[in-house]
């Protein structure tokens, strides 16, 4: 019989190079449920996946593997273009063979109908939030194309951990779109290793932090092969007493000559009580490479306020527009109606039912989950 207890994941989601501890930006410590699976038969992923670095680190990988009922392995055959998205469970491994194309979706919502990886949920016996987790490891062989979509759109009673690891071979193309739209705590790490020559990685991370929510994000791109390209873009809105820490590292490893990595963050801070920490790092051990990073942090600019006011929007409406824009983008990116419904449920909580309805109708999409999903 499974025994439930609590475990501590101490100082996880760490970047490759750390800064002063007193800045409290290096990591996060999380209390998570621990369910004993003694005696359970567990089907693990192929050994190859053990070597994939995941964004939240080894400790989280071990914890998820200890909590998941089973690992979910999907292989996309060489040259195949898989139309149907692969929906990740708590522990998922995806092998995209040479020249193949696939979409991997990770979605965590607040309701029972959402496609979340909730196998590790612990009973809520106290004020502790419900915990959910997703561990996704992807191997993209040469010339493969992989699209990853991540949605976290949960309510304030949830703590979600999401750890992703990707390896890209020669000329492989990987693009990731993350939407972190709500949860009491969202701890998300993503590591991508561009092992092959001419591999490319594009990451767009959009987030919203409001109320007492906490966001802890760790992005790591290891550029190992020659002539790699990485573009990492994070942008979000923080309001209320939200706390956010973002660590973004581009590591130009020895042997990555001709590679170029760019990281750019744009944060909109709507409240004086927000805590916003950003730690961009470029590591470089190679000649003939380029690493760039930039950050824009602040309130809505006076030029933008002027322009939007001239079209009839007061300041609070301008701020609400930025939040709506996040949801518009997420709804449009959602590949199935079930995921769309999850995003819309969150939108209804944040923006109200009327706006949520408007989002889906305006974009010409169906906002209800169907059985096919």
């Amino acid at each position: 019989m499974a025994e439930n207890s609590t475990a501590t994941l101490s100082r996880v989601n760490t970047p490759p190079a750390q800064t002063w501890n007193y800045l409290r930006t290096n990591d996060i410590t999380l209390q998570v449920p621990s369910i004993s699976r003694k005696g359970d038969v567990y089907f693990a992923l192929p050994r190859l996946f053990e070597g994939i670095e995941c964004g939240m680190g080894r400790q989280v990988t071990d914890w998820v593997e200890s909590q998941a009922k089973d690992a979910h392995y999907v292989e996309v055959r060489a040259g195949e273009k898989r139309e149907e998205p692969i929906v990740a469970t708590m522990d998922t491994g995806v092998m995209v063979r040479a020249g193949a194309e696939a979409t991997v979706v990770v979605c965590t919502g607040g309701g029972e109908d959402s496609e979340s990886a909730d196998e590790g949920e612990a009973p809520d016996t106290s004020a502790q939030p419900v915990t959910s987790a997703s561990l996704v490891r992807i191997w993209a062989e040469r010339d493969a194309r992989v699209h990853v979509l991540e949605f976290v759109a949960a309510d304030d009673d949830r703590q979600h951990l999401e750890s992703v690891g990707i390896v890209a071979g020669d000329r492989a193309r990987v693009d990731v779109r993350q939407f972190f739209l709500g949860a009491r705590t969202t701890a998300a790490g993503l590591a991508c290793s561009l092992d092959g020559a001419n591999a490319r990685f594009d990451l767009s991370c959009r987030y919203l932090g409001a109320g007492e929510e906490r966001l802890d994000i760790n992005h790591v791109v290891r550029m190992r092969g020659k002539n790699g390209r990485a573009n990492v873009s994070e942008s979000g809105v923080l309001d209320g007493h939200a706390r956010k820490a973002l660590r973004a590292t581009i590591d130009l490893v020895h042997g990555s000559s001709g590679s170029e990595g760019t990281e750019l963050e744009n944060v909109l801070v709507l409240s004086d009580d927000v805590t916003n920490k950003t730690m961009p790092v470029i590591l470089c051990d190679e000649d003939d490479v380029a690493g760039n990073h930039g950050a824009t942090i602040g309130s809505v600019g006076p030029e933008q306020i002027g322009y939007l006011a001239n079209r009839g929007l007061a300041l609070e409406e301008i701020e609400a527009l930025y939040v709506r824009a996040l949801f518009d983008e997420a709804v449009l990116a959602a590949p199935t109606s079930a995921i769309r419904a999850t995003v819309l449920a969150r939108a209804a909580t944040v923006l109200g039912e009327e706006v949520a309805r408007d989002l889906v109708e305006g974009l010409g999409l169906d906002g209800t989950a169907t059985e096919e999903d």
Binding site: A309, N310, G312, A325, D358, G362, L363
Partner: protein, 269 residues
């Protein structure tokens, strides 16, 4: 002030029209620099007015002052729009009242897709409220009219757009919002022939479909070729120094602004 005699037709049109905008003795400027001096101007409903003048005359400033741009302070005079004194009103309220200022250099707004933006500004206006589906169709129609693809809608507002594309987006908003008065601030600047043609088409459509009034701020005449101009105003050094019918534009085209600059300098002396 040089005031050529207006034609009978113009007089008749003005007499019949309702006054929409009345700028009465406005002086304004930035915190440390006065720019406009005792400017008075009247625009009737459905009329097309042109404001011309050399660079740095204060034409754009007047447009922004009418719109309520907080960067400029009004030190004297009043602005009455549609029967209401709006001198103290904020820009968003003036916009909702029916004034639209098209920017010379539209501002980039990262993080806001065009669709979300258009939907939000339309929903703010009770007279334009419509279902999301109808709205999508309406935007599609206008976009087609302006030779714009639907992919524009998911891109961030004005971010990474060419000068011509930005002006098309301004026209898209003009046709969507159907304001009572549109102030077009150097809308023709930096446009190639094709883009200018599309923008001119947009302005024509606004005049035809919305019967709105236009105040076109420009210092060249190409964008005016397709318009029937009711009144022309000339501004030099923050003062309106001449006013006349549409034919005054031909005079300016032939002789430039020198005559007005000299007259203005003489007047000051």
């Amino acid at each position: 002030m040089y005031r050529p005699k207006p034609s009978d037709a113009t007089i008749g049109r003005l007499a019949m029209s309702n006054q929409l905008l009345r700028v009465n003795g406005i002086s304004a400027g930035t915190e440390d620099k006065p720019i406009l001096h005792d400017v008075s101007l009247e625009v009737g409903s459905g009329e097309t007015h042109v404001l011309m003048g050399p660079n740095g005359a204060g034409k754009s400033t007047l447009g922004h002052v009418i719109m309520g741009d907080p960067a400029y302070q009004v030190t004297d005079g009043t602005i009455v729009f549609d029967g209401t004194d709006i001198t103290e009103q904020s820009a968003d309220k003036r916009s909702l009242a029916g004034i639209f200022l098209s920017y010379q250099a539209p501002v980039e707004v990262p993080g806001v897709p065009l669709y979300s933006y258009l939907r939000t500004i339309t929903q703010k206006r009770p007279e334009l409220k419509m279902t999301a589906r109808k709205f999508r169709n309406r935007v599609g129609e206008i976009a087609e009219q302006l030779d714009m693809g639907s992919s524009f809608l998911t891109r961030e507002l004005n971010v990474g757009f060419s000068g011509g594309e930005k002006k098309k987006i301004e026209m898209l908003q003009l046709l969507l919002l159907r304001p009572k008065l549109a102030i077009l601030d150097e809308t023709d600047s930096g446009l190639d022939v094709d883009a200018l043609s599309v923008v001119s088409r947009g302005i024509e459509a606004y005049r035809k479909d919305c019967d709105g009034a236009l105040l076109v701020i420009t210092h060249n005449t190409r964008i005016l070729e397709r318009l029937t101009v009711d009144r022309t105003h000339v501004m030099v050094q923050g003062r309106l120094v001449a006013e006349g019918p549409g034919s005054l534009i031909d005079d300016i085209d032939a002789h430039g602004f020198e005559q007005f600059e000299k007259a203005s300098a003489g007047g000051e002396a």
